[in-house]
Every structure is written in structure tokens, then in C-alpha cells.
């Protein structure tokens, strides 16, 4: 019983991550009709915003100690972080909390990146075939990756969560079960809560504001909205920036779970496309629902009992579900008719 509860919890946690990653992708697709293969790269850039911020905070004053030598004869370097030297305990706190604090940095940075990308490149591809969009965004993803690799190397860079979230929470005890039966890492619970907040914020933004209303109208029928004299173009630019922010934040918060390297985006690219398509192209609700569905299914498929029934099922479950859903329900879980069918 507790094993199943644990897997459900794990599925929700995974699902939150999948949904968050897919949300930005489907936002860009639903509004702009752009198949963005650079979405994974945006996720990666977000993660590296956190890495850079941490590096910045831990910038160290280097003093050469000529009394001691390294085995190859150079003087030993003594390093003290500037932040600690300047701010003392508050500096230590900032370093400890660098991942959550990076959110503040990532929002403007990712918005800027998104807007530049849309203005500079994506805009010229609205009317081009999807194949061209794929090629150009894929090329962009490679370029961004290689730039990051040049500065940060190929090895993963660990980003610890704030100290107080390092351990695990005894979820079982909250539910009235025996102590220690269901423990779950604090940071993953936080990630889950964080994704819920971001998703809710995006929905609220689109559903409750005038801006959101116009965008939603634009998603349905761009031409008519344009004919009404509304500058849908500028709004779409902002929406793309928003998608970049969502992808970036997903990346920032994921760094304590998965030490990021320059390749991390590519690993999420295929997955996020599958989630989006299962949910229905351009459907935000669908992306969220599909994210949770796939997360939970994957979690269960990895249980030993199920694997012994169907060997290898944990390897293919996501794709298998995608195939079945697309065959049974052509437009995905919540997709609208006619989207992206030609």
C-alpha cells in the first residue's frame, strides 16, 4: 500500500515537471503555430542562469600562497568568496539560497532571450513550413548548446538546494501512517508546488486578463483578431517571451534534482513533444493533464511487480501511451479539431 502511495506521489512529482516543460512549448505552439525545437535549449538556458548566478555569488578572491605548492610546482591558491567577505552571514545565506534566488534573475533574462528570439528569428518563420521551423530552431538549439559548452564544459555542474530543503519530508506521518513509511525529498515537493503555482499563474493570466483574452482569441482565429484592429503581433511576442520564461523557470528549479550539463535540454525535447501531442496540440489544459498522466504511468511502469509481468515496459510506456491515445483519440486528450492537421 505504502509502495503504491509512494509511486503515486512520485508520479505527481514527475507529472508536475513534465507539465511545466510542456506548458511553454504548447503556449508557443498554440499562439504562434511554431514548432520550437529550441524549447529544450530554453530549459537548458534557464538551468544555466542558475549556474551562472551561483558562480557569480561564489566568485572568489584568489590569493596565491607561495609557501605551499601544488604537485606540479605552482603556488597554491587560497580562495574566499567575495560575497561572504562583503556581506558576512547574509552572503552565506545568498549562496545557500542561490537556486530559488535565481528565479528573480531568470525571469528578466529569459523574457529578454524569448523576445529577442521571437523578434530576431521566429517571426520570420510564421509563414514557413513546419519543416523549416524545425530545422532553424534545431540549428539554434545546437548553437546555444555549443556556446554553453564552451563556457561551462560538458560535465554536469551540481547545484545544491538550500540547506533546509536538503533532506526528506515524512509525508506518511502527515497522512497518519506509521513514521518513516513514506518519505519524500523536500525539494521535489517544492518543485511540485512550484509547477502548480506557475501553471495556475499562466492560466490565470490567459483567462482573467484582457491581454489573455486577446491572445486566446488570436489562438482561435488570428485573422479576425487582426481585422478588428488589434496588434496581435506584439502580444504574440510577449507570449513567446512568457513561454521562454516558463521553460527557463522549469530549468532553474530542476537543477538540484538533475545537475545540469549543456545537453540537458535535448533529453527533455522529445519528451515534451510527446506530452504536448498526447494532451492535444495547442491545448494548455491538455498539456497539464498529459504531463500528470504520463508521469504517473511511468512511475507505475517502473515498479518491479509490473516489470516482471512485462519486461521493458518502463522503457517504452510513454511512447506506447502516446501511440494508443493518438489512435483512439486523434486530437489528443483535449485538443481542438483541425489544429496542425495539415
Amino acid at each position: 500500500m505504502d509502495a503504491i502511495l509512494l509511486q503515486v506521489l512520485n508520479g505527481l512529482d514527475k507529472g508536475g515537471a513534465y507539465a511545466l516543460i510542456a506548458l511553454g512549448l504548447t503556449l508557443a505552439f498554440g499562439t504562434l503555430g511554431i514548432v520550437n525545437f529550441a524549447h529544450g535549449a530554453l530549459f537548458m538556458l534557464g538551468a544555466f542562469t542558475a549556474v551562472s548566478f551561483n558562480k557569480l555569488l561564489t566568485l572568489q578572491k584568489v590569493v596565491l600562497d607561495t609557501a605551499h605548492k601544488t604537485p606540479w610546482g605552482d603556488p597554491v591558491e587560497i580562495r574566499t568568496p567575495y560575497v561572504e567577505a562583503m556581506f558576512g552571514d547574509f552572503g552565506k545565506f545568498m549562496v545557500d539560497w542561490s537556486v530559488p534566488l535565481s528565479i528573480l534573475v531568470a525571469i528578466p533574462v529569459m523574457l529578454l532571450i524569448g523576445v529577442i528570439m521571437e523578434r530576431g528569428l521566429i517571426r520570420h518563420f510564421y509563414r514557413r513550413p513546419h519543416a523549416d521551423q524545425i530545422l532553424v530552431t534545431f540549428g539554434l538549439a545546437i548553437v546555444l548548446q555549443e556556446i554553453v559548452k564552451h563556457f561551462f564544459g560538458a560535465n554536469p555542474i551540481p547545484q545544491p538546494a538550500p540547506h533546509i530543503f536538503a533532506g526528506s519530508a515524512d509525508v506518511g506521518a502527515w497522512l497518519g501512517l506509521a513514521k518513516g513509511t513514506i518519505v519524500y525529498p523536500w525539494w521535489r515537493l517544492i518543485y511540485f508546488a512550484f509547477s502548480a503555482v506557475v501553471i495556475a499563474a499562466v492560466f490565470a493570466f490567459l483567462q482573467l486578463t484582457t491581454f489573455g483574452m486577446v491572445v486566446r482569441a488570436g489562438m482561435r482565429d488570428r485573422e479576425t483578431v487582426g481585422l478588428l484592429g488589434i496588434n496581435i503581433q506584439r502580444r504574440f511576442t510577449i507570449v513567446f517571451g512568457l513561454a521562454a520564461v516558463v521553460a527557463g523557470l522549469a530549468g532553474v528549479m530542476y537543477t538540484p534534482i538533475l545537475p545540469p550539463n549543456y545537453h540537458i535540454g535535448m533529453e527533455f525535447l522529445v519528451l515534451s513533444f510527446v506530452v504536448v501531442v498526447v494532451g492535444g496540440m495547442g491545448s494548455l489544459g491538455g498539456a497539464v493533464a498529459a504531463g500528470f498522466l504520463l508521469g504517473i504511468l511511468q512511475s507505475f511502469a517502473s515498479m518491479n511487480e509490473i516489470k516482471s509481468l512485462a519486461p521493458g515496459i518502463d522503457q517504452i510506456i510513454i511512447y506506447l501511451v502516446a501511440v494508443i491515445i493518438l489512435l483512439v483519440r486523434p486530437r489528443g486528450l483535449m485538443g481542438r479539431k483541425g489544429v496542425m492537421e495539415d
Partner: protein
């Protein structure tokens, strides 16, 4: 490079089957001289091929291997401070290249994919005319390139490859491995684990679901069961899964008190980071502190895993903090050149290059037949691993194995592993027959 082009007779035969449409112009003229073996060096230089991952997740390991190769070439040509050339014995190296020919090298990107690695190796053989290829950072790639070198008739000096298969069922006469293997990891780790964690332990394995993972799981299971541990469960995980949480959650209530992670590289970094997040190392099960073991790890990986690796036991081929004269000489020379200590991948690649050069000098030829004969059963010392032997029966180096632990209080960003024990060679030796496979005949035919 015309010597590697087709000969006229082959071309005519080929054109005949190809039909009239294929009647290609007879532009290939074979060099006048006869070639005794593939890519026989005729000029003033000899070319070696260094095939390492330059892109993909192992690019940092590859970059370090390349640094080591460049350093080895420098030392062979008599430049720099000579590094381990000064400690290596018995050495026939003179510091004037190999057999009087200056050593030059070509590089290639394996992308950690067998196909790309073989394409790159073929380029080196067919276009650049190399007599030896070295490098690699995964067993699949190493085995694929080793097979290719056997077919082509050149020598393969394996770099970082840890699977039992490389010198087990997939061994080849033209291929040699200096690095240790999963079997040795198991044999060396078990006694140390017994001392640290006792005889009464229940182990849970998470294993990368591919050939290397399986061989390591098998070896670890065998040796831990010999010291009285029980194996609760062995679970296979997809390669490159990223998030391993769904495999870690069942460990929590499985009754196991040790988790053995048969993962490598990025997978290992992710799985150990996540296992620690799930509080496994703070847990107490069966009245004992829960422990994690990572049978193979390297300093570069430890760097990626950060705090999670502290206090975790594993094994490694070599560590830069070893205090023997050879290791010190190598670290000094590498550090001076690049401002950082070498990784274990760098050491094995450097050593392999020296061993190859030395074998050529011993044999007095670059011919694979001579080199293989010189290397088989070659006993040497002074290359950082103590007394070592290239066993003739399977072309595997036998030497002491290092058991290491993630350093609790690193003094610098390179000071990540501490050597706990140096397991003597006798304890990790095995009968070459247990893995099957055959070396086959040496291929020293012209290509």
C-alpha cells in the same frame, strides 16, 4: 596517400560486376613499393590516431584523454620533461620518437556512438594512415573499434573501458587494455566493504540496462555474496533516464540496507544525487546505517555529483594523489602543461601510448605481429600502477586496484577521492577462460 587506394586487379574485377554503367576510369595506381603490413610508415614520421568523445556527455573525459595523448607524444619525441618516460622500466624508449621516426597524431570525435567511432577510426586508417588507434570512453565504443582494428590489421590500445567483455568474450589479438574491469572492481571492493559495513548486509542493485551494467552487476553480486551479503533485488534502469526517482522509491521500503549503483557517467551522477535526496544515506534499516556503493567512479564524475559522493566507496584505476615516483612525475608534468591534475582516463591513455611505443622499440618494427609479440606477457613498472603485466592469454593488464572513497573534506576542487586501500594484483586475478571468447590470430596483413 595513394598507397591505400585500390589495386588495379581488384578494380577490374569490381568494374566487371558493376556492369558497363560502373566502368570507372582506371585512375588508381598503386604505389611502387610493397607494403608489408597495414599503413607501414615509410617517411620520417609515424602517425597515431586518438579517437575520443569530443561532443556529447563524455566530452570532458575525452578532452582530458586528448591532453594526455598530446603529452605522451611530446614526451616520446623528446620534448618537455619526459614525465613517466623517466620512471618506466624496463624501457626501450629513447626520446627520439618511435624507432627514430617522429610521432605525429590525428584526432577524431567518437561522439560516444559506435557508428561515429568506427567512421572516425576508418578515416584514420584509410586517409591518415595510422598504425595504432587509442581512446574511447565506453565499452560499446571500445569493443566496436577494437573489432575494426582487428579487421584492418592495426593495433588498438583501449582507453577508458571497464566491461569484462573488452578482454573477455570480445577480446581480439590486435587489441590491448590497460584499464581494469568490472570483475576486478568487485574483487577489490568486497573485502573493503566487509570491513566497513560487516558481513550481514542486504544489497539492492540499480543497474544500467546494457552490457556493461550487467557485467558489473554480475561481478558485484558474486563478490558481495561471497562475503555473506544477501541480494534483495536487482533492478535494471534505462540508460540516460535522467530522473531515477521512480526506481529509487521502491528501495526505501525494500528492507535493503545497501544500494549498489551500477551506473556510469552522467547516469551515475544523477542517480546518486537523487538517492541522497531521498534520504537514503540518513536512513537506518535493520539497525544499520543505510549505505550507497558506486563500484566505478572517477574524479570527473565525483565533481559532477558534488556533496552526494562524500564517504561513498568505489574503485578506480588510478588517482593523481598517489605518492609513488611515477605518479608524481606524471602529475607534475601534466599539471605544468595544463594547470590541473590528470584524471584516471588521462593516465590510462598516456600509459597506453607509451606502452605501444615501447613495444615497437622492443620489436624493432611497427608491424602488428611484432608489437603483439612484444606486448604479450610484458611485465613493467613505473607507470603509476606498480608492477603490471599484460597477460598474454587475454591482453588484459593485471595490476593493483585502488579502492577509493569520496573525500569528506576536500582541500581543493581536485581533492575529491581518497585512496582507502590498494588491493594487490593477486586478489583480483582470474582465469581468462571464465569469460569465453578467443583472441584469434594476429592480423598483420597489408590493408
Amino acid at each position: 596517400m595513394s598507397k591505400k587506394l585500390i589495386n588495379r586487379r581488384e578494380l577490374i574485377r569490381n568494374a566487371a560486376i558493376g556492369g558497363a554503367a560502373l566502368a570507372a576510369p582506371l585512375h588508381f595506381v598503386r604505389d611502387a613499393h610493397a607494403e608489408a603490413y597495414c599503413n607501414m610508415p615509410t617517411g620520417k614520421t609515424v602517425t597515431l590516431g586518438f579517437n575520443v568523445p569530443q561532443s556529447g556527455p563524455y566530452a570532458d573525459e575525452g578532452a582530458d584523454e586528448l591532453r594526455a595523448f598530446k603529452l605522451a607524444v611530446k614526451h616520446l619525441n623528446g620534448e618537455g620533461d619526459g614525465g613517466m618516460l623517466n620512471t618506466f622500466k624496463p624501457s626501450s624508449l629513447k626520446g627520439n620518437g618511435i624507432l627514430g621516426k617522429k610521432v605525429v597524431f590525428v584526432t577524431g570525435d567518437t561522439q560516444t556512438k559506435s557508428d561515429a567511432a568506427r567512421a572516425s577510426a576508418k578515416r584514420m586508417i584509410e586517409k591518415d594512415g595510422v598504425v595504432m588507434i587509442s581512446g574511447g570512453s565506453s565499452s560499446g565504443v571500445a569493443i566496436a573499434v577494437q573489432g575494426l582494428c582487428q579487421e584492418a590489421g592495426i593495433i588498438f590500445m583501449a582507453g577508458l573501458t571497464h566491461s569484462n567483455d573488452t578482454t573477455g568474450k570480445d577480446k581480439k589479438r590486435n587489441g590491448f587494455r590497460h584499464f581494469f574491469n568490472a570483475y576486478m572492481s568487485g574483487a577489490a571492493l568486497a573485502p573493503v566493504l566487509e570491513k566497513a559495513y560487516g558481513k550481514d548486509r542486504k544489497a539492492y542493485h540499480l543497474t544500467a540496462d546494457y552490457t556493461w551494467g550487467w557485467t558489473q552487476e554480475e561481478s558485484m553480486k558474486k563478490f558481495t555474496e561471497q562475503i555473506g551479503w544477501k541480494t534483495v533485488k536487482t533492478v535494471r534502469t534505462p540508460v540516460g533516464a535522467g530522473d531515477f526517482s521512480q526506481y529509487i522509491t521502491p528501495v526505501l521500503n525494500s528492507g535493503a540496507d545497501v544500494l549498489i549503483l551500477n551506473h556510469y557517467g552522467k547516469d551515475m551522477i544523477n542517480s546518486i544525487t537523487q538517492a541522497v535526496q531521498f534520504g537514503l544515506r540518513d536512513k537506518v534499516v535493520n539497525g544499520k546505517k543505510f549505505e550507497i556503493v558506486v563500484p566505478l567512479f572517477s574524479r570527473l564524475m565525483a565533481q559532477g555529483a558534488g556533496d552526494a559522493i562524500k564517504g561513498v566507496y568505489g574503485s578506480t584505476n588510478w588517482n593523481w594523489q598517489l605518492q609513488d615516483a611515477a605518479s608524481k612525475a606524471f602529475v607534475k608534468s601534466f599539471g605544468k602543461e595544463y594547470g590541473q591534475p590528470p584524471s584516471m582516463a588521462a593516465q590510462t591513455c598516456y600509459v597506453q601510448t607509451l606502452l605501444y611505443a615501447n613495444a615497437c622499440e622492443m620489436a624493432g618494427t611497427f608491424s602488428p605481429a611484432g608489437v603483439v609479440k612484444a606486448l604479450e606477457g610484458f611485465k613493467f613498472d613505473g607507470l603509476g600502477n606498480g608492477p603490471t603485466e599484460y597477460r598474454a592469454a587475454d591482453h588484459q593488464c593485471f595490476k593493483d586496484v585502488l579502492v577509493v572513497r569520496g573525500n569528506e573534506k576536500p582541500k581543493s576542487k581536485f581533492d575529491l577521492l581518497e585512496v582507502v586501500e590498494i588491493t594487490p594484483r593477486a586478489k583480483v586475478e582470474y582465469d581468462p577462460k571464465i569469460f569465453g571468447g578467443e583472441l584469434g590470430p594476429v592480423n598483420a596483413k597489408p590493408c
